[in-house]
């Protein structure tokens, strides 16, 4: 009955209603049911991708996904993919030579999740990506979310083409191996370190959601190295920052990078944890064994147990002593036959074996 109740009460398609977490995922989402055509339903959401008109190879750029007409489950959790094809495998931007530098959640994943409020039917997600070479790439966006009874899945019907062209000579830019910091700890000012090429001056701007754009003080810390200080965050939140690079070439503005402030990671002294774990193990096992051995009655007598044959008090029946001592007394010695000792017997033999002789064991007998 319990099993039947549990089976009936579970809802189909509610495998992971809390989401699966931001990560680098292909369209099949690791085999999740949202990607299985036999199980899902088509999402009615409208997905639109956009990016800046000019994209250079090796220079970060922003791709934005706008989702409208959303109809989600009661949890409001929705997941968005940025893909480079729809085959279901090897379809992430990384597979096409694009690096995801930042996503709107503060990570660097092609799959991000959002929890929307009830009634919210529109949202947007952005990724800062960087191409490793020139050429045209088709980007696709996909969405999955829950619904009334089924998992829903949707993907853009056609690719959004992004052409990465060759970088103009002398274009001030971030260095090709620059990776933006995406996380920082609460309560500590953050020093951003920028590596640039062909930049003679750098400005850094930052903003929080819904706030004004602020400027950070930038200092040169070496050749093509710059540092900017962002004020400390007092609560878990995220801000966005960008750099404006000036040099001989045309002025260049980077995309907005997301910087998330989080509490310091949870830490515990592992030795104390393991010590307490083993203490619990031995304390509980010892307590159970001690209590049982104390309360349990003695086990039933073994079939080999002959202790009941022993005298109750050994000191009142010194059996061994009496046998030994009795041998010296005549009363314990068998009475001699009428003809005296049997032929060939001596007195010592008679003392020990006289009773057996009389019993006929040695050819004699009671006469």
């Amino acid at each position: 009955m319990l099993l039947s109740f549990l089976l009936i009460s579970s809802t189909y398609g509610a495998a992971e209603p809390g989401g699966n977490g931001d990560a680098t995922r292909d369209m099949q989402c690791g085999g999740a049911c949202h990607g299985d055509a036999a199980l899902n339903e088509t999402s009615l959401a409208t997905l639109t991708l956009s990016s800046s008109s000019t994209v250079y190879a090796g220079i970060p750029t922003t791709i934005t996904l706008t989702a409208t007409n959303l109809s989600l489950s009661s949890t409001g959790v929705v997941g968005f993919f940025l893909l480079t094809d729809t085959t279901g495998h090897s379809d992430t931007p990384q597979d096409a030579g694009w690096e995801v530098l930042s996503d709107s959640n503060g990570g660097a994943a092609n799959y991000v999740e959002q929890t929307l409020s009830s009634g919210q039917s529109e949202t947007s997600v952005s990724w800062v990506v960087r191409s490793s070479g020139i050429g045209t790439t088709s980007f696709f966006a996909a969405i999955h979310h829950g619904g009334s009874s089924s998992p829903f899945f949707g993907v853009t019907p056609s690719g959004y083409s992004v052409e990465a062209s060759e970088v103009p000579e002398n274009l001030p830019r971030l260095s090709a191996d620059f990776t933006p910091q995406s996380e920082r700890i609460l309560g500590v000012p953050t020093e951003l370190v920028l590596q640039t090429e062909f930049a003679e001056s750098v400005q850094v701007q930052w903003k929080v959601e819904g706030g004004a754009v602020m400027s950070a003080q930038v200092n040169s810390s070496g050749e093509n190295m710059w540092s900017a200080t962002i004020p400390a965050a007092l609560q878990p939140t995220s801000l966005q920052w960008r750099a404006i690079l000036q040099g001989d070439g045309p002025e260049q503005t980077t995309p907005w990078f997301t910087l998330t402030a989080e509490e310091a990671g949870w830490e515990v002294e592992e030795f104390a944890v393991y010590l307490q774990a083993f203490a619990l193990l031995f304390l509980i096992a010892g307590a159970v064994i001690s209590l049982q051995s104390r309360f349990s009655p003695l086990p039933e007598s073994s079939k080999y147990d002959q202790t009941d044959l022993l005298p109750q008090h050994l000191d009142t029946a010194p059996a061994i002593e009496s046998v030994t001592d009795g041998l010296s007394e005549d009363s314990e010695v068998a009475p001699l036959p009428a003809g005296g000792l049997p032929n060939g017997w001596n007195e010592d033999q008679w003392r020990w074996y006289g009773h057996d002789y009389l019993a006929g064991k040695y050819g004699g007998g009671q006469e």
């Binding site: 809390g18 030795f271 619990l280 031995f282 001690s290 051995s293 349990s296 003695l298």
Partner: protein
């Protein structure tokens, strides 16, 4: 002090088993543990109900007794593999989540109950069912072992999927009750002492015969 040996040993365990990831090995071993302890707990529950005269089928007592202890030992044997593979497969380095710490405490608590129940039944035989007090103690300890393991599995579900069947109980998995090291050390010594004394007492009972 960082305790790395459980992670290293855990990795060795799953390597010995072949080319499977520690995550898969953890799933397999935890399914064995949870399945075995569930059956064991069910049988201990029936034993308790028989003792309380809620169930009247007293001739089923040996069946429940045997199944409860067999599955308990089976689950107990699989538990170390589940713990070690869990340490290896957890994301990040070390115990970086209170849920992982609570899983460790719950699984070791369950192992403690299971070892106590198994050792008692092994050394004292059916005398653990001889009196009302010992029957209640044995059944409740067996049920506690099962309950601890199910709570461990529930914490694992909360850690991985952010949901669990036992979410209705609103268990505080995010809170860790960590004793000072001195208290844990004293508890460890006390536990070892109780274990040795109890074991010697049970052996003394046997050696009389």
């Amino acid at each position: 002090m960082e305790m790395v040996w459980p992670r290293l040993f855990g990795r060795q365990v799953w390597r010995w088993t072949g080319m499977i990831s520690p995550q898969t090995f953890h799933v397999v071993s935890t399914e064995l543990v949870v399945g075995a302890f569930s059956v064991s707990g069910l049988c201990f529950l029936f034993c308790l109900l028989l003792h309380l005269d809620v169930l009247k089928k007293t001739d089923w007592k040996p069946l429940f007794d045997n199944v409860a202890h067999f599955t308990l030992v089976f689950g107990l044997a699989a538990t170390p593999f589940a713990v070690l593979s869990g340490l290896s497969s957890a994301p990040g380095e070390g115990l970086n989540s209170p849920i992982l710490v609570n899983k460790m405490f719950l699984s070791m608590t369950g192992m403690g109950f299971a070892i106590g129940v198994f050792a008692s039944r092994w050394r004292l035989g059916t005398n653990v069912w001889a009196t009302s007090k010992t029957t209640a103690l044995h059944s409740i300890a067996g049920l506690a072992a099962c309950g601890s393991m199910l709570l461990t599995a529930s914490a694992g579900g909360t850690f991985l999927r952010n949901e669990s069947l036992l979410d209705v109980l609103s268990l505080p998995y995010d809170a860790v009750l960590l004793f000072p090291t001195a208290i844990s050390g004293i508890s460890l010594v006390l536990g070892l002492g109780l274990l040795v004394l109890g074991w010697l007492r049970m052996n003394a009972v046997s050696s009389i015969h």
